[in-house]
């Protein structure tokens, strides 16, 4: 960090320099997450030698894969300084839609496509409301969270889908995989790499960041703000739909309550992973690490003898800690820079 700071051209152009430094500091977050994750896994392995067996690693990856996928979608929305709270409901209704089709013995690929396109469709609704109505995304998606969940409950009623109804190939997708690598993790990784590449190297992806860091500046620069924000929501909805299909494959059991409260876990994962609520910073890799950390903590708890009812509280307090630490670091960095600017006149 000091090496970065020493040659900072921030003395002339204070604000962009400090912004860049803050970004670098936040990037250290991903490293810190890796370290915490490693310590956590190593510590548990010492206490319980089966934790890192082939099956143990497989379970860890299986648990994380779905959250990673949904969190990656959420990250792209948060980067544009919005949020999508309806992902839990979207995941639930898409899982049931896919399952309802597959129950008739259809092709798994079509089932997944149904789930993904339904999710994307719901994303279009969210995105249009946010970008064209110019209303706070949090309120709108809080509304659609309940609307989608309600529609799901009306449609599903007391029906449920069990693994027995599903084609065998689809269930294998949710459990199997070469060596200790589950198919779900491979899909998650592919989604992650593709999305990260898009956000990093494509014009559309860069504009997500531009809109998130300063919407007004982006508007003045002529960026297609509405189009990009809608795109982010469609992406997020589609990935929540994919998450729903994979949830169906993994657990085989879907009813009208599937995915309730999942949005909190997803948002926690994204923010813990260093994608700031204030937009314009963070990466999907960070969000994925956040997701991996949360699911690993939740896997570690039982082996430490802590009841699983702690999950919710831990997710919440980790989220609080993450935003508080982000803020403190940003304030500290800004202070350092200001002092240096004063010294150099």
């Amino acid at each position: 960090m000091t090496a970065v700071a020493r040659r900072a051209p921030a003395t002339e152009i204070g604000v962009p320099g400090s912004k860049r430094l803050v970004d670098r500091v936040l990037r250290i977050r991903e490293l810190a997450l890796l370290v915490i994750l490693a310590v956590l896994v190593a510590g548990t392995e010492v206490g319980n030698h089966r934790f890192l067996s082939g099956q143990g690693v497989k379970d860890l990856l299986l648990n994380a894969a779905i959250l990673v996928i949904v969190a990656a979608g959420q990250a792209s929305v948060v980067i544009t300084r919005n949020v999508d709270l309806s992902v839990g409901s979207t995941l639930g209704i898409c899982a049931f839609a896919g399952g309802d089709y597959l129950r008739g013995g259809g092709s798994p690929l079509v089932g997944i496509l149904i789930a993904v396109s339904l999710g994307a469709g719901l994303g279009v609704v969210n995105g249009s409301l946010v970008s064209f109505g110019r209303v706070p995304s949090l309120v709108v998606t809080l509304g659609t969270l309940y609307i989608i969940r309600g529609l799901d409950s009306i449609w599903v009623g007391s029906r449920e889908i069990v693994a027995h109804d599903l084609p065998a190939g689809f269930v294998t997708l949710g459990h199997g995989g070469p060596f200790f690598l589950p198919y779900l993790a491979i899909i998650g990784l592919a989604v992650l790499i593709a999305l990260a590449f898009y956000l990093r190297s494509y014009r559309g992806g860069r504009e997500f960041y531009a809109i998130g860091s300063n919407t007004e500046a982006a508007r003045l620069a002529g960026l297609p703000i509405r189009k990009r924000i809608t795109a982010a929501y469609v992406l997020c909805g589609a990935l929540a739909g994919l998450g729903g299909a994979l949830y169906l494959a993994r657990f085989g059991n879907v009813d009208s309550g599937t995915g309730s409260g999942y949005e909190l876990t997803v948002v926690s994962a994204v923010v813990v992973g260093g994608v700031a609520f204030t937009g314009g910073s963070g990466s999907v890799y960070g969000a994925a690490l956040g997701a991996l950390l949360l699911t690993t903590i939740n896997s570690v708890l039982p082996s430490l003898g802590v009841s699983s009812s702690w999950e919710g509280a831990i997710d919440g307090f980790l989220l609080l800690a993450a935003i508080a630490v982000d803020r403190l670091v940003a304030l500290r960095v800004a202070n350092v820079l200001r002092r240096r600017n004063v010294r150099h006149g």
Binding site: G133, V135, L142, G143, S256, V267, G316, F317, A324
Partner: protein, 353 residues
């Protein structure tokens, strides 16, 4: 719904400043409530029955209570999404302490105090660290519900003393008014006076309208916001107690989704999510409009799930409506100023969505 009404009512400056040509939104909602009530009394069997009215009021109490401080918070440009979890935590704590043989006279104040502490944590994170209240309270939404689950697990505690249960569920004589409504009426009066007739209330509007300007005008922005968060937490804790006694059941998942109803009601009542605008009267109208609609839907055998859909749609409409109206109005005004017309022009007729 046309024509500017200059100087209408004591808060016209605030309420109409940016609403521009529209009639005040809270009045519209109040009229809507009156229309729904007339429809209910005239056209729906059993709606006017004493027992149904007492259910209507009793079921609305928790939302109505929390909506009071929430209105002030939203007027000041902040929001608290953790109120439902806070009420759940208060309820779970009540059950756990009762199981631990605490006397109920201590349990109730303690639960309310815990609510205040939860509000204090929200407020400190928002004001001292400068974090966005949405982010903070999403975190505490998860955290407080999690704590509630840790405290009580999946148990339900129902054996509270009968006289307290009567206080939570009973009504005054043969009127449909529950005892809790008296508590609500007192708090309503206090909130209305504070927001609309004291320097504190004026300061909240000033903060919501322009934080910087309020700060330079000498208003202690952070302290006032902190107090409002503590107040919201306190009332949420109280709502948890009321909820527990009213339904005679302490569970960790009590009052799940309360925040949605409260925010939907407050926004429906014309309190602007950006801060600086709104009236307690609007919030009350919003709360009871929502409560009455839900009651009517129950009477018509509409399922609970469909009611959730309706609440969600109302929430979306109540934030979307005023903004779309404003955008249309701005567009019309721009066109009109491009083609100069004399001042006699009437405002466009915008449906009140």
């Amino acid at each position: 719904m046309a024509e500017r009404r200059d100087g209408a009512g004591p808060w016209a400056g605030v309420a109409t400043a940016r609403l521009g040509g529209l009639v005040r939104w809270d009045v519209v909602v109040a009229l809507l409530l009156a229309a729904v009530l007339v429809y209910g009394f005239a056209g729906v069997d059993n709606f006017g029955a004493t027992i149904n009215l007492s259910f209507l009021i009793g079921n609305t109490m928790a939302v109505a209570l929390v909506a009071l401080p929430m209105t002030m918070l939203v007027v000041a440009g902040e929001v608290d999404l953790s109120v439902g979890s806070m009420a759940g935590l208060s309820s779970a704590l009540m059950g756990a302490l009762w199981n631990a043989n605490w006397p109920i006279e201590y349990i109730i104040p303690f639960c309310i105090l815990v609510g205040a502490a939860g509000g204090l944590l929200n407020g400190l994170l928002v004001t001292r660290l400068g974090l966005p209240s949405l982010a903070v309270t999403i975190g505490t939404l998860a955290a407080y519900r999690g704590l509630a689950q840790i405290i009580l697990g999946a148990n339900a505690v129902t054996d509270f003393p009968q006289n307290y249960l009567n206080l939570g569920a009973g009504r005054i004589g043969t009127t449909p008014i529950p005892y809790t409504f008296v508590l609500y009426a007192v708090l309503l009066l206090a909130a209305a006076v504070t927001l609309h007739a004291t320097p504190i209330g004026r300061s909240l509007f000033a903060i919501g309208a322009n934080r910087e300007a309020a700060y330079f005008a000498g208003i202690r922005v952070k302290r006032l916001k902190l107090v409002m968060f503590v107040l919201t937490g306190t009332v949420a804790g109280l709502a948890g107690v009321v909820w527990t006694l009213h339904y005679a059941s302490a569970r960790y998942d009590n009052a799940t989704g309360l925040e949605l109803s409260v925010i939907a009601a407050v926004l429906l009542g014309g309190i602007d999510f950006d801060g600086g605008k709104g009236t307690i009267g609007g919030a009350v109208a919003g709360v009871f409009l929502l409560g009455t609609l839900q009651n009517l839907m129950s009477l018509a055998d509409v399922s609970a799930q469909s009611q959730i859909v309706v609440t969600g749609i109302l929430l979306v409409i109540s934030v979307l409506g005023p903004r779309v109206a404003r955008q249309i109005r701005d567009a019309v005004r721009r066109r009109r100023s491009a083609a100069p017309a004399p001042g006699a022009a009437t405002a466009p007729d915008i449906p009140g969505t």
